[in-house]
């Protein structure tokens, strides 16, 4: 691994940290526009984070150390995840440290800690949120794995970098399994990032909220970290989707020019993706919590079908 690849790694993490809130802001802005509202500034999330960091953090008197520890763990995990995904370059020191399975495990670790932290204070909403989060988790996680597997079967590998590499540097071929995987992935990432049909990131309506219920007891810097982690997660998922299904532009090696190009391509793709997400969210309505399992089960099945279709055509 050369100094450049280390640089690429660091750059990538920093880009993720910086771009993540921006992506959130961008999506929110478009949502507002699509609803004929005056949109908040794209930079609103940064302001929010700053405000929260400045404020004292107020926590329940009987909260355990785990409660205070959780935001850092979650933040760390998600950052690491962003570092693993080859958004700019496929030649990253971290990419060998974790393949897709490890990536999913990493996100699961973050989820478990959020849930535990939510249960720690012992309020009705906290436990409720934790239960719902884990419910979504155990349905979304296998679906995500299946999606990744169907791609990894194409490239005969589970290491993201190699996947991207093969998908980019192969004569354009049509894989009938991929569309299923793509749809499934979209559904999963909607659920995982608490987007509309599953959860509403802006709601505080007790009966429907999931993500908000989890972080209800947090305030100040802890809340800031949680929110930042949330937007990082959204960023990560978007990147996974992009590198898996639209991997063009990702730099094969850590050459500075290529990196710059990749960065531009990434921003462009994210912008488009954000708009698409906003459109989708505005068009669809929030579903009842009891419908969510069916929604995710559908995603799971789609992913499995994709896998089957692939094996069928491969065999």
């Amino acid at each position: 691994m050369s100094a450049w690849s280390v640089f690429a790694q660091v750059l990538e993490v920093l880009v993720a940290l910086v771009l993540a809130p921006l992506l959130t802001g961008w999506v929110n802005q478009w949502r507002a526009l699509l609803r004929n509202r005056r949109p908040p500034s794209v930079l609103q999330p940064y302001r929010l984070l700053h405000k929260l960091f400045v404020k004292d953090s107020v926590i329940a008197e009987h909260a355990s150390p785990l409660f205070r520890m959780a935001p850092y763990v979650v933040f760390g995990c998600v950052t690491l995840a962003c570092g693993v995904i080859p958004t700019l370059s496929t030649d990253l020191p971290m990419s060998v440290a974790a393949d897709v399975i490890a990536l999913v495990g990493l996100l699961a670790l973050a989820r478990v800690f959020i849930a535990l932290a939510a249960m720690d204070v012992g309020t009705a909403f906290g436990t409720l949120g934790a239960r719902r989060e884990m419910l979504i988790g155990f349905l979304a996680e296998p679906a995500l794995l299946m999606v990744l597997f169907s791609v990894s079967l194409i490239s005969q590998t589970t290491s993201l970098a190699t996947m991207v590499h093969t998908v980019t540097h192969r004569a354009l071929a049509v894989y009938p399994g991929l569309p299923f995987a793509g749809v499934a992935f979209v559904m999963v990432s909607l659920a995982e990032n608490a987007r509309v049909p599953v959860d509403n990131p802006t709601t505080h309506l007790e009966l429907t909220m999931i993500h908000e219920a989890l972080i209800l007891e947090y305030s100040g810097r802890h809340l800031a970290l949680m929110e930042w982690a949330a937007s990082l997660k959204l960023f990560a998922y978007s990147c996974i989707g992009l590198v898996l299904f639209f991997p063009w532009g990702v730099a094969p090696g850590p050459a500075p020019g290529a990196l710059a190009l990749a960065l531009v391509a990434l921003v462009a793709k994210l912008a488009v993706g954000g708009v698409a997400l906003a459109v989708f969210e505005s068009l669809s309505a929030k579903m009842r919590i009891f419908r969510v399992p069916e929604f995710l089960a559908t995603a799971f099945l789609l992913a499995v079908i994709g896998l089957l279709v692939h094996t069928l055509t491969a065999a």
Binding site: L106, T157, V304, L307
Partner: protein, 672 residues
């Protein structure tokens, strides 16, 4: 076959450890009621012996197989002993796990709990010795003797508190199924010896059975060892027996004893039988998945902590067996490398499960002693009153949920890897099925996370659901030490998978002919079973990255901003009248699972109507298999018995008639 004098040491050492364990037990009987001596001296000694066993096993793992013959047994069939890589691996697991459990037990057992301490000490150490004996037995008779001794000693341990009828019933069910399974194993050996009358495993290895007989032997082995391992549908004893036993015993049974069954299955399947059939593997795969799914789903809806863990043991055994099944399929198609991969995953999981499950059972034991509550609905918030137990348990919980960078994740990672590479199978149906299997494995893994969050969250987090929990005392020094040891173990397994796989390598070499050893060695700290380009996982880098992320975040936040914290009542959307009763109960946390997997359950619901004066909600989840399989069998036996009972109906004339008719029939038959 006969090993050189140099390599004799390990096997002799193992024998010595076994003998010393027995000795410790006898000393315990001698000091029948001297509680302090038994607890504080004998049990730690037993733990030390466990460590010694682990060391010996590690030494023997890479050596040639060692054999020995004891002067006891049947005439012409003395006890043959053999220590090869497979035995060594399981011995290692037993040694490490049991040492932790023994140290814990030193602080656990209290006065006046059923059986006198000395007797308990005897049964406990005989149990340990028998488990070690199972792993080195090299002929059918020796194997059966130690096998049943293991069952018997564990039965007495389970019913240590035999004044409670439920516990007696649980023990009875356990021993019954164990015994019937043992007869199955016995018949399996009967087939394997191929009528030669020579019951040594060496002879069985030499025999080449016809496919039919081999399949019979395989079926009997699956039946016998499955009954011990708790494979669905032979699992019914497990959720009864494990909660009934004292916690260290449950830890040993769940963590270690179930593994001896896995060992037996491997021994018969890959060592004694030659040329496995692919459908054997398919069968194992199906059984394993059924157990895994059923186990985890039932664990999710349990409201009693040890029962929850027992069901999760069924799940883990299911995963292990599924891995073995996959390995069998590969072996049947001569895809040795992949077989080695799958087998390595199973063996790795054997170790991780042994450690974290023992740890979790021990922590339930501490909770039980501190609160005398086993019902999740009455626990909560213990992380404040018993921080030691809570934080150590958290490690076990994360490992059990299969989260990186802990031990559980590595085995799941390997297992999924091996599933991913199955598309090359020369068998279309399997190629179709395997992805679905992989999906189910992923589902099970995710559900395990759910279960563990429920387990930890309900016991240790939130507010205490009962007043008395507030002043629960933390575990004693001995208990902490034991649990800490196991926790360290499961962390180490997670961080140094490559080194562990190098120990497993000789095992797979011995059984399948190839291993992941040099691949692992090549990639150094990086776990890459086949090639780095294909799949890799580096827990240490991983951990460093994560720690770096957390640490930097922590430091920077304090540098750039501040570290001020204000304490206040919980916010909870501004609702001030929070009580502990408003938290989700165990049932509540199980509700989504109950809803989604309804067909798998046999539910007894009692829902209140809106007009009830005192509305009462009750839901009982029962095992459908108990009703679908075991009840009918019992009824059938009863009916047959009542029919046979007609023979004995007291009238002498009828009795004379019997012998008269028998005589005539016999005369007709012989003079035909």
């Amino acid at each position: 076959m006969l090993a050189g004098p140099g390599s004799w040491l390990a096997l002799d050492g193992v024998l010595l450890v076994i003998a010393l364990w027995l000795l410790v037990g006898l000393v315990g009987v001698a000091a029948l009621r001297r509680f302090r001596f038994v607890a504080r001296v004998l049990f730690p000694i037993g733990g030390g012996l466990g460590l010694a066993l682990a060391a010996l096993a590690l030494a023997a793992a890479f050596g040639r197989p060692q054999v020995a013959v004891l002067a006891i047994g049947l005439p012409g069939l003395p006890f043959h002993l053999r220590l090869d890589a497979l035995s060594a691996w399981f011995l290692l697991v037993i040694g490490v796990a049991s040492s932790g459990v023994s140290v814990f037990a030193a602080g656990y057992f209290r006065r006046g709990e059923g059986t006198p301490p000395g007797l308990l000490c005897l049964q406990y150490h005989v149990f340990l010795a028998a488990m070690a004996g199972v792993l080195i037995a090299d002929d059918a008779y020796a194997f059966m003797v130690v096998w049943e001794t293991m069952a018997l000693s564990s039965f007495f341990l389970v019913t240590a508190n035999h004044r409670i009828p439920e516990i007696r019933r649980a023990g009875y069910l356990y021993l019954l199924i164990a015994h019937i399974g043992a007869i199955g194993i016995l018949m399996c050996f009967g087939v394997l010896q191929a009528g030669t009358g020579d019951y040594t495993f060496a002879n069985m290895r030499a025999q080449h059975l016809s496919t039919g007989w081999a399949s019979v032997a395989f079926g009997l082995a699956v039946f016998g060892f499955g009954a011990k391992a708790g494979l669905v549908p032979l699992h019914v004893w497990l959720p009864e027996a494990h909660p009934a036993a004292p916690s260290p015993v449950s830890a040993l049974m769940s963590g270690v004893m179930l593994k001896t069954a896995v060992y037996g299955l491997l021994r018969v399947l890959f060592d004694l039988l030659d040329a496995p059939q692919w459908w054997w593997g398919a069968l194992l795969l199906a059984l394993g998945l059924a157990s895994a799914l059923m186990g985890v789903v039932y664990a999710a809806v349990q409201v009693e902590m040890k029962r929850l863990l027992a069901w999760s043991s069924i799940e883990n055994i299911g995963l292990i067996v599924a891995g073995i099944g996959l390995a069998t399929v590969f072996a049947a198609f001569r895809m040795q490398t992949l077989a080695a991969l799958a087998l390595t995953a199973s063996l790795f999981h054997v170790a991780t499960h042994a450690l974290f499950k023992s740890l979790l059972f021990l922590s339930t034991g501490s909770v039980l002693h501190a609160t005398s509550e086993r019902n999740l609905g009455k626990l909560g918030g213990l992380i404040r009153s018993m921080p030691w137990v809570a934080w150590i348990t958290l490690i076990g919980v994360l490992a059990s949920a299969g989260l990186p960078p802990f031990g559980g994740f590595v085995s799941e990672w390997l297992l999924l890897q091996s599933f991913l590479f199955t598309t090359g199978l020369p068998h279309e149906v399997l190629n179709m099925l395997i992805p679905i299997v992989a999906a189910l494995i992923a589902l099970v893994a995710a559900l395990a996370g759910y279960v563990m969050v429920k387990f930890f969250g309900v016991i240790f987090l939130g507010q205490p659901r009962e007043e008395k929990l507030a002043h629960a005392r933390d575990a004693s020094r001995w208990e902490r030490a034991g649990m800490l040891w196991l926790a360290i173990g499961s962390i180490a397994l997670g961080l140094f998978p490559v080194q562990v796989i190098e120990v497993i390598d000789p095992v797979t070499r011995g059984l399948i002919g190839t291993g992941l050893g040099e691949a692992a060695a090549r990639s150094g700290w990086l776990l890459a079973p086949t090639s780095v380009a294909r799949a890799s996982y580096a827990p240490l880098v991983f951990l460093l990255g994560g720690a770096l992320g957390c640490g930097l975040a922590w430091v920077l936040v304090r540098r750039l901003y501040h570290g001020r914290v204000r304490r206040a009542p919980p916010w909870d959307c501004g609702y001030p009248w929070q009580t502990a009763r408003m938290q989700d109960t165990a049932e509540g946390l199980g509700q989504p699972i109950r809803q989604i997997f309804e067909p798998l359950f046999r539910l007894e619901r009692e829902l209140p109507s809106p007009f009830d004066a005192q509305p009462r909600y009750r839901v009982v989840v029962q095992d459908p298999i108990w009703h679908a399989v075991y009840r009918p069998i019992g009824a059938l036996v009863a009916r047959v018995a009542s029919l046979v009972g007609l023979l004995q109906q007291g009238r002498i004339a009828v009795y004379l008639m019997y012998s008269f008719v028998t005589l005539l029939a016999l005369l007709v038959w012989v003079s035909r």
